[in-house]
């Protein structure tokens, strides 16, 4: 990243030698692809203002959300949103309570297990949700018997689907911080492991932990496969259901969800940047 400044200076040289695109070529490519990629999003925005099929435009679909009886009309949708938010919170809790301590422990005490842990954490890419859900159905019939069928239980499956993303976010932070020296410094100053974890390691891992949390929230808010095939209600299944009766509201909420996910991921980038900027 620090190279970026020097690269920019050399840009004209690179362009002349053909290793980098000229300004015109760059903006033609980005312009054309960007334009094409804007079309579906713009179409959604336009659609959300459409007044039926007869043409004409209206604000009614947006203002309808604030009606007194909106809560009743879109009850299912609001349930889905509520469920997804709860699931996001529980999933983040799983990442922070189960994955994070294990990663720190492995990093400090079981360096030989690092590759194994990495391997486990990327399995969910090879075993996609649509495959996992086939085996999750019987598992959940047991889960329901043991802890009941509450909404939050779905987060137990989501904790697995976010593993690759959360792992990558935390690991890149772990690699960048000298965790071993830090914890030894803590030990020398006679802190116990709890104190080291809380006062020494976590503040240094804040960036990775935040990034892992945000990306987990984004994944959970977008999850459809598992919820749908286990007959649960979350934001995405509710959106699909609402779209059959009121496509305008479905599109409005889809736009809002996409915007929220975009902001979450944009802030991950920001967190990373400010930290590297100030510490190096």
């Amino acid at each position: 990243m620090s190279r970026a400044g020097t690269r920019r200076v050399d840009n004209s040289v690179a362009v002349r030698m053909g290793s980098e695109p000229s300004r015109a070529v760059r903006w033609i490519i980005l312009g054309v692809v960007g334009l094409v990629f804007c079309i579906p999003i713009v179409a959604m925005v336009v659609f959300s203002f459409k007044d039926g099929l007869g043409g004409g435009y209206t604000l009614a679909h947006w203002s309808g959300l604030f009606d007194e009886d909106a809560a009743r009309t879109y009850r299912n949708l609001f349930t889905g949103i509520g469920n997804s938010l709860l699931l996001a919170v529980v999933t983040v809790a799983i990442v922070l309570v189960v994955l994070l301590p294990t990663m720190i422990l492995v990093h400090l005490q079981f360096p030989r297990l690092r590759r194994t842990l990495e391997f486990i954490c990327i399995i969910p890419i090879t075993v996609p949700a649509i495959v996992l859900v086939v085996g999750l159905a019987p598992v959940y019939s047991v889960v329901v018997k043991v802890v009941g069928g509450s909404v939050w239980t779905l987060a137990l499956a989501y904790g697995i689907t976010v593993l690759p993303y959360a792992y990558r976010a935390i690991q890149s932070n772990l690699d960048a911080v000298d965790v071993i020296t830090l914890s030894e410094a803590g030990r020398t100053l006679s802190a116990n492991w709890g104190k080291i974890l809380w006062f020494v390691l976590l503040p240094n891992l804040k960036r990775g932990v935040l990034a892992a949390s945000f990306i987990s929230v984004a994944v959970v808010l977008g999850e459809f496969t598992i919820a749908s095939l286990l007959n649960r209600t979350n934001l995405q299944t509710a959106l699909l259901q609402v779209s059959q009766s009121d496509p305008y509201v479905a599109v409005i909420f889809a736009l809002l969800a996409l915007a929220l996910a975009f902001l979450l991921l944009l802030s991950i980038g920001r967190i990373g940047r400010t930290r590297t900027g100030s510490s190096s």
């Binding site: 690269r7 290793s19 980005l30 579906p40 079981f110 030989r112 590759r115 194994t116 859900v133 030990r187």
Partner: protein
């Protein structure tokens, strides 16, 4: 097969880590006392066994059993029924087409981004937008395409009114397998940008300089240096895109509400109706078929990634 790979990786890791850590030696690390530190691993281990290992095993193995628990090859042989083979065929076709188009367009965008600041606003905007579109679209992308090129969509109507062009002259194909192509490409290109950008920005300016010093042209730079160096990464990303399309379910489910046109939709049909082709546990057999394809593709991906990382450092 995924699990079978694990021991190899473990022994591999053990070797490399002893080599890496031998100078400082384990004595410099203060070990937690005995049992306690192993206890620390149990929550994650239990969790992963319960919600990853067991479901995966059930998914892959259940195809070999009837509902009564008797062993059978019936379901797995069902994978070779003509209509199931046709489903796998269209899944391969959709994944291959969208992976190739996505990889080429995505690589072009990466090329266009060369020479921009990695921490500048343009790159961070494209990074975040790519992540959103690549991984979290699902159902919402289906809405977006219905709004754009559905039968009353913005573009459909525009083309008809302005150019007199009816894109659905031969029937509305958006809700069929062909309809998946534009939508899948829409999330494949961003995934390509995310995975291929690090490789492309790893090209060193010195290589271009060396090429120029030795009298090479732009053409020789790309054909003799950049393409060979980027090839493993490009084809690796291509495989990742293929796997991504092959395993994606949400968008297809939202667009195609009934039927079993691609493998994930056939799994849906098998799960919902319990019997496909008059067989129980067909979902398990389909899941097994899918996992086999995914393991092969992802294995190829990791081989190519390892070749890439050789020069990326």
């Amino acid at each position: 097969m995924t699990v079978a790979n694990a021991p190899v990786l473990v022994s591999d890791a053990a070797e490399s880590s002893t080599r890496r850590h031998s100078p400082s030696g384990p004595a410099t690390r203060r070990p937690l006392r005995g049992l306690v530190k192993y206890l620390g691993l149990t929550p994650f281990a239990v969790y992963v066994v319960l919600f990853l290992a067991i479901p995966t095993t059930i998914a892959v193995v259940s195809g070999f059993f009837t509902d009564d628990g008797a062993f059978t090859f019936d379901n797995v042989l069902g994978l070779f029924a003509p209509n199931v083979l046709a489903t796998f065929g269209s899944s391969f076709w959709v994944s291959a087409v969208t992976a190739v188009v996505g990889a080429v367009v995505g690589a072009l965008v990466c090329y266009a981004l060369l020479g921009t600041r990695a921490d500048g606003p343009l790159r961070s905007f494209i990074d975040s937008a790519s992540s959103v579109l690549a991984q979290f679209g699902g159902v919402m992308l289906a809405f977006a395409f219905i709004a754009a090129i559905g039968s009353q969509g913005l573009i459909t109507v525009l083309l008809k009114d302005v150019f007199g062009l009816d894109i659905f002259a031969n029937g509305v194909w958006l809700y069929q397998v062909q309809g998946l192509l534009p939508v899948y490409i829409y999330f494949q290109v961003p995934l390509m940008i995310i995975t291929f950008m690090p490789a492309l920005s790893g090209l060193k300016l010195q290589w271009a300089e060396a090429n120029a010093t030795l009298g090479g042209t732009r053409f020789t730079y790309w054909t003799r240096i950049a393409f060979p160096v980027l090839a493993p990464s490009f084809f690796g990303s291509l495989l990742l895109l293929f796997a991504n399309a092959f395993s994606s379910y949400a968008t297809a489910a939202a667009l195609i509400s009934q039927g079993a046109q691609i493998v994930p939709l056939q799994i849906r049909a098998a799960l919902v109706s319990e019997t496909v082709l008059g067989r129980e546990n067909m979902a398990g057999a389909l899941a097994l078929g899918m996992v086999i394809v995914m393991v092969v593709v992802m294995w190829g991906y990791s081989v190519l990634q390892n070749r890439t990382s050789r020069w990326q450092k």
